[in-house]
């Protein structure tokens, strides 16, 4: 009997999602498995509806890139109750406040993700190499949109790394954006107006960092720039030296691994449950560009 797997993206207008979905599809095609890819257009209830539609169509397995960790529990339960194996991609399921990413929501077949805290930690380690020694460094954090766990997770990891390295630093500003380059640019402009002496900008996504780079350049500041993502734009920016470093997140790989895990669960139902498939987030600087093949 031929297998059909469903994949529910968070929002296919976001390259990250597209890359993950493509990774999933590619792997599925390679294994000769039919896929149904649905788009939740960033609305949690639409995501829930999509999962229901998949359940209604009696697919053999579901992979989902949850828009929201906590909310996702509901339909993971629902899928489980129809004992359809379900795999979460990139975002954990269950309150990130209460559970570290490693302990996976029991009803999940598997979680394929990067540890955001660790990603932040890696970014922090890059920062350590860039920051001036001997004096307290002024650091500005360009956050993503409020309401995303990534925001505090990466910040947390970032700080951990700095503290661990015993750097003296001050977070002089930490402002939200909407994950877009133009907002990143304006936020950095304004931060530089308030604190011309910023030594380093930590942008929580490459999109912001490339905008931020413009602001830094046009303000004639010498602040260092660190991003997070390893998207094509980000890597290019590093290549041309606009940006100093980023951490590489590989949605394509996630999608691929997600398929593997799901396919395994479908083919032998007795397999392991709630396993955590970690996708590492290597540090990328001009020196180590080879580390990261941009997937989005």
């Amino acid at each position: 009997k031929d297998i059909t797997l469903g994949y529910v993206a968070a929002g296919m207008q976001y390259p990250f999602n597209v890359a993950a979905a493509k990774g999933f599809e590619a792997a599925a095609k390679a294994a000769g498995v039919k896929t149904i890819v649905l788009d939740a257009k960033t609305s949690v209830e639409r995501q829930g509806n999509s999962v229901d539609d998949l359940i209604a169509q009696k697919v053999d397995g579901i992979a989902v890139l949850p828009i929201d960790a906590v909310v996702a529990q509901a339909w993971v339960d629902r899928a489980a109750s129809h004992n359809i194996p379900i795999v979460a991609v990139a975002t954990q399921v269950g309150d990130p406040q209460k559970h570290p990413v490693k302990d996976v929501y029991p009803k999940l077949t598997a979680l394929v993700a990067s540890d955001e805290v660790h990603a932040g930690y890696n970014a922090g380690q890059i920062a350590v190499t860039l920051l001036p020694k001997g004096r307290t460094a002024n650091i500005a954090i360009v956050e993503g949109a409020p309401g995303y766990p990534t925001v505090w997770q990466t910040t947390q990891g970032f700080k951990e790394a700095l503290d661990k390295a015993g750097i003296k630093y001050r977070i002089v500003a930490s402002q939200p954006t909407d994950w877009t380059p133009e907002k990143g640019e304006s936020v950095c402009q304004n931060m530089l107006t308030a604190h011309p002496d910023i030594d380093l900008f930590f942008n929580q996504a490459d999109d912001m960092v490339i905008g931020c780079a413009r602001a830094v350049r046009s303000a004639g500041s010498h602040a260092k720039l660190i991003g997070r993502g390893g998207s094509r734009l980000g890597i290019n920016a590093i290549k041309v030296g606009d940006v100093d470093g980023t951490v590489c997140i590989q949605p394509g790989k996630m999608g691929q691994l997600a398929f593997k895990a799901l396919y395994a669960a479908v083919t032998n139902p007795g397999g392991t449950k709630a396993q955590f498939v970690d996708v590492d987030t290597p540090q990328v600087t001009k020196a180590s560009l080879a580390q990261c093949v941009p997937e989005w």
Binding site: A9, M12, A21, I36, V37, L38, D39, T42, S43, V44, E45, R46, G48, N49, S50, D52, D53, L54, A56, Q57, I67, D68, A69, V70, V71, Q73, A74, D95, Q97, A145, P146, G147, P149, V151, W152
Partner: protein, 413 residues
């Protein structure tokens, strides 16, 4: 004095008309009005949105059959679509009312999110039902705020609700501290499930409602015929609706059951429809939207009716929020962001005028169903994400075109 007036002119003036072939002309004219009414009755302008919906369903089910997928028109899938539409539909119905009163509310999605956050946030500590009550109160307050600013400061509703859209979303941010909330205590979850999930048997009520609608329709029809006036549109609506109800039962059998939100949606819509089209209040609502000054000078308390519109709208949003929160037992700060556009789109697809004075909640319902049938169809047909946007946009415009182009008389209706 009656007699006096009549005797002074009605007699003579008839004579006057007679002198210029009046009677005959009168007859022809009336027959004409009958004719035109019939045309109008089934014309695109009146029925457009239904036609659009039916067309869409036919197309999709056609394709599903053709591509040999499981039948699209299964009761299961229908109830799915209804379930998915229910939340937006409930808010859209209220939005229709506020649009009829000539106002506008962009803040519904934020209000819903707030109410959801409140419910989820408090359910653990005070229990679900009290939490729900508080959430409703909060929502009503939001409505009062909107209404007060618009009515008593006289600021444009669009900008006000655009402001509250941002502000209330901000409150959600603060309340949730930018994190997702979830309910943990089992009995709260239990209560939520009781309120939101599961299905209700609706065969019997449907039969009852269908029958009553049929009877009422016939009654009106007969009475109209007897008094040889041209037939009221609503009576046909009733007949049609009645038939639909019974058909649904026929398809689903006596064991037919629907998800609770669908039932809530149906009940709410029915109530609002009844109030709007059957009661004084409804008539006044339309008058207030159609010409506030005239309404005011006819002794209608315009301000109050407009306020009521805002409150109803926010209350509905609040209820939607509670459903939303209970559905997932959790809420994220960005919940329902942007839903307001879907809501308004449903209302306008239903032919509601943005300038007030015209609109029908049933058609709004059809509008909402149209939109969700579309996305549901996309999922069923596994249409590439890239193409959905284009298709959705085109369908929306086409649907609007179908009944606007239908006829240009009665712009305002």
């Amino acid at each position: 004095m009656m007699n006096l007036t009549t005797s002074t002119h009605s007699g003579p003036s008839h004579g006057g008309n007679g002198s210029s072939g009046g009677p005959t002309e009168g007859v022809t004219a009336t027959t004409q009005t009958h004719a035109t009414d019939w045309r109008r009755l089934l014309g695109l302008r009146e029925m457009g949105v239904y036609y659009a919906l039916i067309l869409l369903v036919l197309v999709i089910s056609g394709v599903t059959v053709y591509t040999g997928r499981p039948s699209y028109l299964s009761v299961a899938n229908i109830s799915n679509v209804l379930y998915q539409a229910s939340l937006v539909a409930i808010i859209a119905v209220a939005m229709t009312v506020i649009l009829i009163t000539g106002n506008f509310d962009l803040s519904v999605a934020s209000v819903a999110a707030l109410s959801a956050a409140v419910v989820v946030g408090l359910a653990d500590t005070v229990g679900f039902w009290p939490a729900a009550l508080i959430a409703m109160l909060v929502s009503v307050l939001a409505g009062l705020l909107n209404g007060a600013i618009v009515q008593y400061l006289g600021i444009n509703a669009f900008i006000v609700t655009l402001g509250t859209l941002t502000a209330i979303r901000g409150v959600v941010q603060i309340y949730t501290d930018g994190r997702s909330l979830s309910v943990d205590t089992p009995d709260a979850l239990q209560a939520m499930r009781l309120f939101e999930s599961g299905r209700l048997p609706i065969a019997v009520p449907l039969i009852v409602i269908g029958a009553t609608l049929l009877l009422a329709g016939c009654y009106f029809l007969v009475r109209a015929r007897r008094e040889s006036r041209n037939v009221p549109v609503t009576s046909f609506g009733m007949l049609a609706a009645g038939v639909c109800c019974l058909a649904l039962v026929g398809a689903g059998g006596m064991s037919l059951a629907m998800p609770k939100p669908v039932v809530y949606m149906a009940v709410f819509t029915l109530i609002v429809w009844f109030v709007l089209s059957m009661t004084n209040v409804g008539r006044r609502v339309y008058a207030v939207g159609g010409n506030p000054e005239a309404a005011r000078l006819s002794g209608i308390n315009v301000k109050r009716y407009k306020m009521a519109g805002f409150i109803l709208c926010s209350a509905a949003a609040g209820f939607g929020g509670i459903l939303f929160g209970s559905r997932l037992g959790a809420v994220n700060p960005t919940a329902m962001q942007g839903a307001e556009l879907t809501v308004i789109a449903s209302a306008i697809l239903g032919g509601t005028s943005l300038f007030g004075g015209a609109g029908s909640v049933i058609k709004t319902l059809a509008g909402a169903l149209l939109l969700f049938t579309l996305t549901n169809g996309f999922n069923i047909l596994n249409l590439g994400a890239n193409y959905q946007g284009v298709i959705e946009g085109t369908v929306v415009v086409t649907a609007a075109a179908i009944y606007t182009v239908g006829g240009t008389r009665r712009r305002k209706r």
